[in-house]
Symmetry: C2
Subunit: 231 residues, 2 copies
DNA sequence: GCAAAAGTGTTGGTTGTACACCCATGG
DNA sequence: CCATGGGTGTACAACCAACACTTTTGC
């Protein structure tokens, strides 16, 4: 047997970066952290960091996101590895990017570990980012737009009970387009993805909308088998 | 400036593996190499190897595929990074997997570098593979099935001029299903992807079929914007 | 003429799209 | 009574799946 590195030691050529999308008040947001130390102290970046020898890459992504921002127990999906030899300034580092969708209201942001701050930013109004993080973010956003048309989303972005307009606004925010109300509803009705809660909105200054929730079984099936959400 | 590793030195925690799909006589194949040295000598594996400090991960994939099998100048797409801490036996190695589709007839396989052999295998009749290569291959095959329904394929898998039946058989081989001839043709006609070569098949013991080629512009557009190929 | 593949049509049901319309509620 | 969003209906075009049919060629 070789002399293995200690499980807590980091792999120096590999890192993680997370593109976390949030949704609130019809706006699509991105979660960024401000580096509190290291070569990028004071600058905004995607939450990320180093992988240790003892953990899987997927686990490292969850650990880092949690320790930097407080967000936990979410479904992180791998995006892509970015492997340009000059992407990191001082040495060779390949980064594995992840992405996820979360409902901002479900998490209090708690900056920690090497992050001095953690904030949501509108995707249309971002500060300058370190290294190639703008490219990673861009790639993630394109991926999200694509994903939205082939898999159901919203489970993690919306409150447990939501109105059809909220769901429509989510799609409109992601796809940067307007959708037809009636056709949007028909499409959803057809895939039987939603369950009517038999409960209405409260405290709104217009007719109260019916509340819906996702049918978890249908959701999982559609996610696995794929679907087509025309425009 | 730090003391950087020599550009030709390998990154020891990172590797590449390639899932190369080939098509011939209506059969979907996978390209494998037999390791000629190292801890897996004599065993079959996906073509892959180590990344150096001086090259991008994408470039490493191309270089390794070429030096192991002779295949060059193909479009390799990143599949995913596999990062389980125990996937590699003797130490911690994360691998970045790539995949590509090629026409077997366009390449003579030339085993080289650390490979003592390189062969096409039917995807339904594979030898045992090292490490987690069967999982990587599986993931790649699922990805291919998905891709086929949302992007045009065939450019690299078929001869420059081909018949509609050949194209249909390619789809049938990948999707493991039978398709309706007339409906298949109508679908293709609608997307204006094919150009009629005004030229017929020769030396066949049945009515000669018209030959077609891809319209490169439409092909690229469809690949970029996506499409839907219903069943 | 038969086998094998090429290639064309037909038909009915399903979707998608655009748009118009009525309903409920708070201010 | 009107602004705001909730919610429904219709009508035309496009599309899809299944299946039957005709054509061409070599043996």
């Amino acid at each position: 047997m070789e002399n293995l590195p200690h499980p807590d030691t980091i792999i120096d050529a590999l890192s993680i970066d997370c593109v976390i999308f949030g949704f609130k008040d019809g706006r699509l947001d991105i979660l960024l952290v401000k580096h509190g130390e290291g070569i990028s102290a004071g600058k905004w970046a995607l939450p990320g960091g180093w992988i240790t020898y003892g953990e899987s890459v997927d686990d490292a992504a969850k650990r880092l996101l949690n320790s930097l921002t407080g967000i936990r127990d979410i479904y992180l999906e791998q995006l892509k590895a970015f492997g340009d030899p000059n992407r990191y300034p001082s040495r060779r580092v390949v980064t594995v990017a992840y992405y996820a969708l979360v409902n901002e209201e479900n998490y209090a942001l708690i900056p920690g570990f090497t992050a001095s701050d953690a904030q949501w930013f509108s995707i249309h109004d971002l500060p300058p980012l370190i290294y190639d993080h703008d490219q990673i973010l861009d790639y993630g956003y394109r991926q999200l737009k694509h994903k939205v048309r082939h898999e159901p989303i919203g489970f993690n972005l919306l409150p447990a009970k939501f109105t059809l307009l909220q769901l429509q606004e989510l799609y409109e925010a992601i796809l940067e387009t307007k959708l037809d109300k009636s056709n949007f509803r028909r499409k959803l009705a057809k895939m039987k993805l939603l369950i009517d809660c038999k409960e209405k909105q409260k405290d709104v200054s217009h007719r109260a909308a019916e509340l819906y929730k996702f049918d978890k079984r249908v959701y999982v099936t559609l996610r696995k088998n794929g679907m087509v959400f025309g425009l």
